[in-house]
Symmetry: C2
C-alpha cells in the first residue's frame, strides 16, 4: 500500500504479505499465522515481513481491513421496511459466515464491532424511513447488530468443538416427562433457525405494527 515497488529484486510488497497471510489463515487456522511460516511461504526471511508490516498485530489489522473492504457495499432488497431490514441482517450474517476467519481475526484485534459501520448506516436509513430515529433508532441498531454478530460468533466458536455441545440427556432427571424436549435439546443446535427467530422477535419489538 505504501511501499513503492522500486526494487524489482523479487518485489515483496505489503499487499503480497497481507494476501499471503490471509491465504495462510483461510487454508488453515488462525494459529497457522506465524511470522516465520509466513516468511517461509513467501520464500523470504522473517525480517522482511517485519519491514513491510511492522509486527504481528499490525499485520492482523491490515488483514481485517483488507477483508472488510470486500464487504463495504450493501444491497437492500424487499418491499416492506421489515423485509428490507430482515434482508439486511440476514445478508450481513451470511457475509460474516462466509469469512469465519475475519471474525477470529477481528476478535483477536478487538475489532469485532468496528466492522459494522456500513451495516449501521444502512440500518439507520431503513429505520429512518419507518420513523424510528434518535435514541430509539440507536437502540434498535445496537440490538440488531449484536444479534447478528453474536449469532455468528457463538456458532463459530461452538462448531470448533462439537464434542461438548450436544447436551447430555442423561443429566436431566427432572425432564423425563418430556422426551421430545430432551431429544430436541440433544440434537445439534440449528443456529440459523435460532438467528431467524431472534431476529423476528427483535423486529417485532422494534417495529411493532409499523
Amino acid at each position: 500500500m505504501s511501499q513503492p515497488a522500486k526494487s524489482a529484486r523479487d518485489a515483496i510488497s505489503q499487499e503480497i504479505v497481507v494476501e499471503a497471510a490471509i491465504r495462510l489463515v483461510e487454508e488453515n487456522d488462525l494459529d497457522a499465522l506465524t511470522m516465520r511460516r509466513l516468511a517461509a511461504e513467501l520464500g523470504t526471511a522473517v525480517t522482511s515481513i517485519y519491514w513491510h508490516v511492522g509486527n504481528r498485530d499490525a499485520l492482523v489489522d491490515l488483514m481485517v481491513d483488507t477483508l472488510l473492504a470486500d464487504m463495504r457495499e450493501v444491497t437492500v432488497g424487499g418491499r416492506t421496511p421489515r423485509a428490507r431490514i430482515t434482508s439486511l441482517c440476514t445478508q450481513w450474517r451470511q457475509r460474516l459466515w462466509d469469512h469465519p476467519h475475519l471474525i477470529a481475526l477481528a476478535h483477536e484485534r478487538n475489532k469485532t464491532l468496528a466492522m459494522f459501520q456500513p451495516m449501521q448506516a444502512a440500518l439507520a436509513r431503513e429505520l429512518h424511513a419507518v420513523g424510528l430515529r434518535g435514541k430509539d433508532a440507536a437502540v434498535a441498531i445496537r440490538g440488531l447488530q449484536l444479534h447478528v454478530v453474536s449469532s455468528v460468533v457463538i456458532e463459530r466458536t461452538a462448531q470448533r468443538g462439537p464434542t461438548t455441545d450436544a447436551t447430555d440427556p442423561t443429566a436431566w432427571p427432572a425432564l423425563t416427562e418430556d422426551p421430545e424436549l430432551v431429544a430436541a435439546l440433544a440434537a445439534p443446535v440449528d443456529y440459523r433457525a435460532a438467528f431467524e427467530v431472534g431476529l423476528d422477535a427483535l423486529l417485532g419489538r422494534f417495529l411493532g405494527s409499523r
Copy 2:
C-alpha cells in the same frame, strides 16, 4: 482430586494447582497462565505441574469445571412465569459477568455452551409450566441461552478494546439529518440495556400472551 496426599513433603495437590491457576488468571489475564509462571507461583518446578494436571489443556478443563461448580444451583424468583424466566436469564448473565475469565477459559476449551446445563434444566421447568414443551420449548431455550451467553461474550470482547468500538460519527455523511442518532451511536454501548431489550423481545415472541 485423585492424588492421595501421601507424601507430606510440601503437599502440592491437583486442587492447589488448579486454585493457583484460577487465581493467576483472575488477578491478571488469561495470557498470564503459563506453566512456568504457575510453577514459580507455587514455588516448585514446572514438571510437578505436569505431573499433577497432565498438560495445559487439561489444566484449563479442570479450571472450567471448578468454576462451574460454583454456579450449579439456581434460585428462581418472581410471580409470573415471564418474571421467573427473566430473573433466571438475568441471574445467569450476572454470574457469567462475575466470572469473565470463565468465559475466556471455556472459550479456549470450546466449552462455551457446555456450561449451560443447569440453566437449561431450570428454563425447561419454567417453560413446561407455561405449556411450552417439545420442540417449541427447545427453540425457546436455545434462543434464550444464546442471547445470554452472546451478550456477555460480545460485551467482554468489546470492552477489552475500547478504542475501536466508539463508532466514528464522521463516517456517515448520509445521517447528518439525525444528529441525535449519530450522537447516540457514538456513545458507548449500553450492553445491559441491549440485553434487556433483546430478552424482552424474545420472551414476547416465545410466550406471547401467556
